[in-house]
């Protein structure tokens, strides 16, 4: 997982429990590593471009997420949706349920 992608995952993760955060990051990293190459190469390309743009514009990952969410370009919205989906699924499955019991 690229550094920018790691920052993005951290920005999208709501959980504060370090164990859950680590589990979420591990799941996203495993999913990206296991992705079909043609998809992974596309994601890496977008990550590199966005990483450079974010550095030049001095934007933090959280702001980048907000900008991508509002982008008129479907590909950019799909990019952030991919990360959000992976993070959300892992967070909800690994984290505690709202009534306090551990997740699955």
């Amino acid at each position: 997982m690229l550094a920018f992608e790691r920052q993005l995952v951290a920005a999208l993760t709501v959980a504060v429990d370090p164990e859950v955060r680590t589990g979420v990051e591990r799941f996203v990293e495993g999913s990206l590593d296991d992705m079909p190459e043609f998809l992974r190469l596309g994601v890496i390309g977008e990550s590199l471009v966005l990483s450079i743009l974010a550095t030049m514009a001095r934007r933090d990952p959280r702001t980048v997420v907000q900008l991508l969410d509002r982008s008129p370009v479907a590909l950019l919205r799909q990019y952030v949706r991919l990360f959000r989906s992976l993070v959300l699924f892992a967070e909800l499955e690994l984290g505690p349920t709202p009534n306090g019991t551990p997740g699955a």
Binding site: F27, G30, S31, D34, M35, P36, E37, F38, L39, D69, A74, R77, Q78, R81, L82, R84, S85, L86, L88, F89, A90, E91, L92, E93, L94, T97, P98, G103, A104
Partner: protein, 483 residues
């Protein structure tokens, strides 16, 4: 072949252990054939992993379940990758191939011995192996809601059978054991003498003129060391890797005529629905609304907390309040039979094939209609809030608001997925449109057969497992009867 390759000699090599491969293996092994099954994924005890959990996603799915057919819009898809294939991760719903489709396919693709009567005889036998039946007692509420909504609207719905086994006297739908291939046909094949090589990926088939003489494989070693090269020499080869992996392997082996084109799938659009009461989340609803079948079917999906979160996130709208109430929510879908089609292409140097799919404008229109009908049904069933898998939603609470969705379902905002992939090596005698003959023998080869979902000439409009197993039994017995 490398100098250090391990060589295995067998009579029949079966590549893949899902619905098609496992059925083929059991039938041939019990007929006394010397069978070796190679499976790319690992053996995982079916009781060891909770269904639809994140652990299942990591251990039993190919690509952690994160793959997509490229196109406008892209369509996410998931395949199993373990001994038993997708039967280990699917809903277990069971639907025979509809009679009219068997007749239509037989006529269009010139398929021999493909009458509904002939297929039903095979289906009955498979059903007896797989403990096919309805749930004992009342269906779960998430399923009954589909029936309730349909009844209020005057639409037809049915409770599908499933491949679940129940202890005698048990009347609790959640206590059945899904009869996956790892529980049924694979043990049956092994008991009859078949060998199973898990974590063994076939790199390519080895050819000599019109014959396949074996397969070059790489198998993971138990101690985590470097993969071992294995060459399996066989008199006959059945490729049963599913509609994506089967054409990819054939193409890697230089077999390309009518292979990989014509891919079909069931594009699916979803709604996360909120109800005023608690719902079950352990099983997939077994009711389906068939008022608009076969071109549009409405049903329910896996609805653990993670799945509900995913479905809510698809709209991109604020969903914290709904997510906090996830125990009153469930995910439902509308799936269409698509006019469009796709391609599977093995790309040199890449492990995964490139998959593309083109939806027609008619498909997009059917998906919009499906989403509106699904919304109508869920509101009739008592839902109070509907979150569509369409960017920007909007969230709907009343029937007259549903029409807002018509123009929102387009190529840039719709989030689609599928778990049913078929038709990438169609069967039939019409060589202009098929890659294999009426019984799965690849055209122009003496001893190479396909026996999985790739053979179905079109998407069946329902879960294809029943059709795959039925056709696999038919083709395996035809092979046994051949000189």
């Amino acid at each position: 072949m490398t100098r250090s390759s391990r060589i295995i000699e067998t009579e029949v090599l079966i590549i893949g252990s899902g619905a098609g491969g496992a059925t083929t293996a059991a039938v041939l092994a019990e007929a006394g054939r010397r069978v070796t099954v190679v499976e790319e994924g690992p053996w995982i005890d079916p009781d060891a992993v909770e269904p639809f959990s994140i652990e299942e996603m990591v251990r039993k799915y190919r690509h952690h379940g994160s793959s997509a057919a490229l196109g406008s819009p892209p369509i996410a898809y998931a395949e199993g990758r373990c001994v038993g294939g997708s039967t280990e991760v699917n809903s277990g719903l069971w639907n025979r191939l509809p009679d009219y489709l068997a007749e239509e396919w037989s006529r269009t693709y010139d398929i021999d011995e493909f009458s509904p009567t002939a297929l039903d005889a095979y289906a009955e036998r498979v059903e007896s192996w797989q403990s096919v039946g309805k749930v004992p007692g009342a269906p779960p509420l998430s399923s009954a809601l589909l029936e309730r909504g349909a009844a209020k609207l005057g639409w037809r719905s049915v409770e599908f059978s499933r491949v679940f086994r129940y202890e005698a006297g048990v009347a609790d739908a959640t206590r059945g054991v899904k009869q996956t291939m790892a529980r049924t046909q694979i043990p049956r094949a092994i008991a009859a003498g078949a060998s199973l090589l898990p974590e063994c990926r076939v790199v390519r088939l080895e050819r000599k003129g019109p014959r396949i003489i074996g397969a070059l494989c790489r198998q993971q070693t138990a101690d985590g060391g470097p993969d071992e090269d294995v060459v399996v020499r066989a008199d006959h080869v059945f490729v049963c890797g599913g509609a994506i992996q089967t054409p990819a392997l054939l193409q890697r082996s230089g077999i390309r005529r009518r292979i990989g084109s014509g891919l079909k799938l069931h594009p699916t659009i979803k709604i996360a629905a909120r109800f005023p009461h608690l719902l079950d989340h352990d099983s997939i609803p077994m009711h389906r609304v068939i008022e608009f079948a076969p071109n549009l079917t409405i049903g329910g999906s896996a609805s653990r907390r993670g799945h509900i979160g995913l479905a809510l996130a698809d709209s991109g709208l604020d969903h914290e309040d709904a997510l906090a109430d996830w125990e009153r929510m469930s995910v439902y879908y509308a799936a269409i039979r698509s006019e469009g089609s796709g391609r599977v292409r093995a790309v040199p140097g890449l492990r995964a094939p490139l998959v593309t799919y083109r939806l027609t404008d008619g498909d997009m229109s059917r998906l919009a209609r499906g989403l509106v009908h699904l919304g109508e049904l869920l509101l009739a069933a008592g839902a109070t809030e509907l979150h569509p898998s369409v960017e920007g939603g909007p969230v709907v609470r009343q029937t007259d608001e549903l029409l807002q969705w018509w123009n929102r379902v387009d190529r840039t905002r719709s989030n689609l997925m599928t778990v049913h992939l078929t038709s990438s090596v169609r069967m039939g005698n019409d060589r202009s449109s098929t890659g294999a003959d009426s019984f799965g023998a690849v055209h122009d080869f003496d001893n190479l057969r396909v026996n999985d979902a790739s053979l179905l000439p079109d998407a069946p409009g329902v879960n294809p497992q029943a059709a795959v197993m039925t056709i696999a039994l038919r083709n395996a017995e035809h092979f046994l009867a051949s000189p």
